[in-house]
Amino acid sequence: MINIIIEDRNGEQKPVEIPEEISLSLMEVLKASDYNILATCGGMALCATCHVQVLKGLNDLPEPGNEEMDMLDTLPDAGFDSRLACQIRMNENMEGMIFKIRGDEQ
């Protein structure tokens, strides 16, 4: 199991457990855990509605690609610790990371 912590828009943190063998993006994990995110483009780094802030673990994530950076540039509230959840693949290195949901609600 990979254990991460998700902080919702109201600041409430909850643990989320993800089986290791599942190949999902963080966006898919958020949707599967019933978090209210739009993810309009279905994970193609085209809509930026899956915006998350990495509260813990930023430097241990793979660098964002160009498409992701490009999309983050279109957000008014993106910071240096912003990422698109759909571009983050779940893996064991993410144990203990904390993400805050920032993207548009459904």
Binding site: L38, C41, A48, D73, T74, P76, D77, D104, Q106
Partner: protein
């Protein structure tokens, strides 16, 4: 006032195809969309992406599909009101509707078809102090008519393609253009990014990097925009306009207030004919929901075909509808 048989709210693929299906039954359509172009999500979000599940097309680019649909519906001469958001639906005594937009356009119709997809595409607004007070009084989220900015001082904010493109374009028109961007580089189209740097080097525009908008102020009209850079020191610039360009995001918007049964931002319909709980109002495409609903283009096309069969009775109350193949009767243009 525009007069038509069916007013379609939303000019995405499903709204467009509904024009064709309605045309086969000799019903005229008028489409309204908030976006300045037709095509809905396909043109706005993924124009260059290939789609693989349109029957008959092993692969087709999203924008090409929209172009084909426009060609297919041309014989039925649909009307378009683009760049305007539908705000109101007013029921008339004879059962017909008057559809009204934020710009004051009015469309009189017998039937309303909501093909609003995920909702109106609306500009993302930065959360800064005072912004909402100056909307339309110096704060604009879209450049509708560049001439409005002639010889004015304009501040643009954002780092995507549209921020770059408008900076370049307005640099020839406005008295002074300033671009404020959060990052220190631009990842949009490299040509545009280079051009913006070049304009800044020549002193034709002011480029302020690694900075975030903080607040706006003025007296009934925008006067000043404040921002902070890495040093966290507040700086201000006097200006006539601020144009934050941070992309678009869909919002259900006015549709929520029309007395329709809504479930999780979607309109509940009867799958017999995709009618809503209000007579003469139908909902097709991504905007509707029913057991088993899939948000797919081809499902929306199917919904459009069934919907017009039912809408016919409101447009031609005295006629009996008989089902005809296009192969037999062809497409009879208006």
């Amino acid at each position: 006032m525009i007069s038509t048989d069916i007013c379609i709210i939303g000019a995405g693929p499903v709204g467009l195809f509904a024009v064709f299906e309605a045309g086969l039954l000799k019903m005229r359509c008028h489409l309204i969309d908030t976006l300045p172009q037709v095509g809905g999500q396909l043109s706005e979000i993924y124009p260059h992406k290939p789609i693989y599940d349109i029957p008959g097309y092993p692969e087709i680019k999203a924008q090409d599909l929209i172009d084909r649909l426009m060609e297919q519906i041309a014989p039925f001469e649909p009307g378009f009101t683009l760049g305007e958001r539908v705000e109101s639906l007013e029921k008339q005594d004879d059962g017909s509707f008057i559809v009204g937009t934020n710009d004051g356009s009015k469309v009189h119709c017998q039937v309303v078809v909501i093909a609003g997809g995920l909702g109106c595409f609306e500009p993302r607004k930065p959360e800064i102090d005072g912004l909402l007070n100056f909307e339309g009084k110096g704060v604009e989220y879209m450049v509708k008519n560049p001439e409005n900015f002639r010889d004015k001082r304009v501040i643009l904010a954002g780092g995507g393609d549209s921020a770059l493109d408008w900076t370049i374009f307005l640099s020839d028109i406005a008295e002074r253009v300033t671009l404020i961007h959060r990052g220190d580089t631009f990842r949009g189209a490299p040509d545009s990014a280079e051009k913006v740097h070049e304009l800044a080097n020549k002193g034709k525009i002011d480029l302020i990097l690694q900075s975030n908008l903080l607040s706006v102020s003025g007296n009934g009209k925008l006067k000043e925009v404040s921002f902070t850079g890495r040093d966290q020191i507040k700086k201000s610039i006097e200006t006539d306009y601020l144009i934050p360009l941070f992309g678009l995001s869909p919002k259900l918007g006015p549709i929520a207030g029309w007395g329709l049964n809504i479930d999780k931002s979607a309109i509940q319909v009867d799958t017999f004919d995709y009618s809503t709980n209000v007579e003469r109002i139908y909902a097709i495409g991504d905007i509707n929901t029913y057991p088993g609903k899939l948000k797919l283009i081809l499902c929306g096309f199917h919904e459009a075909a069934l919907m017009v069969q039912s809408a016919f009775k409101y447009v031609y109350p005295d006629q009996k509808l008989s089902f005809k193949y296009t192969t037999v009767y062809g497409v009879n243009a208006f």
